[in-house]
Amino acid sequence: MSRYRRRRLVNRAMEVLATVAALVAVGVLAVVVISVARRGAGAVSWGFFTKPQALFGQPGGGIANALVGTALLVLLATAMALPVGVLSAIYLTEFARRSVAVPIQVVIDVLAGLPTIVIGIFVYALLVVGHTQSGYAGAFALAVIMLPLIARATQEVLLLVPDTLREASLALGVRRWRTVIGVILPSSVGGILTGTVLAVARAAGETAPLLFTSSIFANTVQTDVTKALPNIPVLIFTYSEQPDPALHQQAWAAALVLMAFVLLASLAAKALLARSRRKLAR
């Protein structure tokens, strides 16, 4: 009787603890969103998106140049990381022997855990020292961050493709590479896109690597990737260090825009994943 009671109580206690933990997680996010929105929403207007940063000491201005710059940086980074990430995932799941796949897997996982400031310094030493800061360098640093995320996500979705489909194709006398292109990739495109969107969301907010590689820029819309590109994270960082409260508000507003982007990207990723799951379902 008492043992029964104990087990019931323990079960109840654990359930309560788990529920509280989940609520705390949601609560933290809610506090962040609310406080950022409260401080920044006032500065969000049409002009905030369309006007570039104001010259130093002048009022007004927006984040148009930083938006364009961040879009360019992320686009370029995706163009670098997506093919390499997808191909390495294909190599690991479809071609590599176990003895080769395991160490490579470890390396990719380590890369995923590398502090972004380390990646920033590395790219700084590699591409910036002796040259200048540039969009290329910034995008490359972001690509290094995105690569393991895309590779991991792709691997997981490739493993979801049933082996019976691989067998079906190989039994026709089709080569493995054609099997990958014709059968495996089409059924996993959704999942790969999901992983990419999440990686994009992550890269869009990375600050540390860009401080080293793309932080000295003009307050105008800039599309030349051989020069440092203005971007949202660095803008938030520099504005937050200014004495002007108006700039503080703009920093909060930019943070709000970034958060909204990440939220939308996650929702899009979820929808894409659901779509690709349906496609493979029997």
Partner: protein, 281 residues
């Protein structure tokens, strides 16, 4: 296995006489002392067998006796399983399938396979059949080729108005016939069927069996089945595999290989008799 075996003592399997048959027909596969092991586990040992052109050869036997292992050796599908070791020799039309210069992809091109579970690609019905020929460079008259394959698989009339529909919308039996159409669209010389009807209902099963009777005019067919009635209905020759357990080793062996009627009515080996009369398995 929980099937109830009610094989009548006399089964009329037409026209088959072991010696006359085997003697006349060209040998497609000539298998010598085939032993297959996965890691340290031996799946089948010392199989000797000849498979002849344009007849249906059935492989029967209890679960785990190595039927699937055997058939998957015939088109080198076992190469895809890491740790597989193959000893002995499989001659395909006189040449060694496992010789060093042989490209397993080319082997599979010429020796097609249909699997236990229907595995259509998540593509349209048309593309399921057309994809193989397209990739393998048989792009000429693709529509005719697809139609011919679907007709041969007795599926054309059911799908001709919805070729663009997803193949996964078909029923299980239709999906399996689509897989057969897909396999024959690339014009293999041999068709291996690994329990092609085990997941199907009796009506779909009988459609597949009728189909096999038609296909044997053009193809050499090898079918693995755990359904003895099916072997009795479709096969000309039947090979009975069993699981041999001696000391601490267990592996599949070929017990008896003969005309289907002989296997089911008057087997030479006690183990075959026990199996076909339902005393074990």
């Amino acid at each position: 296995m929980t099937e109830s075996f009610t094989i009548a003592p006399v089964i009329d399997v037409t026209q088959v006489r072991p010696d006359s048959h085997a003697g006349e027909r060209e040998v497609v596969f000539d298998i010598h002392d085939l032993t297959v092991s996965y890691g340290r586990v031996t799946a089948i040992s010392d199989v000797n067998l000849q498979i002849h052109r344009n007849i249906i050869t059935a492989i029967i036997g209890p679960s785990g006796c190595g039927k699937s292992t055997f058939i998957r050796c015939l088109n080198r599908m076992n190469d895809l399983v890491p740790g597989t070791r193959i000893e002995g020799q499989i001659l395909y039309q006189g040449s060694d399938l496992y010789a060093s210069g042989v490209d397993p992809v080319e082997v599979r091109r010429r020796i097609g396979m249909v699997f236990q579970k229907a595995n259509p690609f998540p593509k349209s019905i048309y593309d399921n059949v057309a994809w193989g020929p397209r990739v393998l460079g048989m792009r000429k008259d693709l529509d005719e080729r697809v139609e011919k394959a679907l007709r041969s698989a007795a599926l054309w009339d059911e799908v001709k108005d919805r070729l663009k529909k997803n193949a996964l919308s078909l029923s299980g039996g239709q999906q399996q016939r689509l897989c057969i159409a897909r396999a024959i669209a690339v014009e293999p010389e041999v068709l291996l069927l690994d329990e092609p009807a085990s997941a199907l209902d009796p009506i779909a099963t009988s459609a597949i069996e009728d189909l096999m009777h038609h296909l044997k005019r053009e193809y050499t067919l090898v079918i693995v089945t755990h359904n003895m009635q099916q072997a009795a209905r479709v096969a000309d020759l039947t090979a009975f595999f069993s699981l041999e357990v001696d000391e601490n080793r267990r592996s599949g062996v070929l017990v008896e290989y003969d005309a289907t009627s002989k296997i089911f009515t008057n087997p030479s080996d006690k183990r075959t008799e026990d199996y076909v009369t339902g005393r074990f398995g």
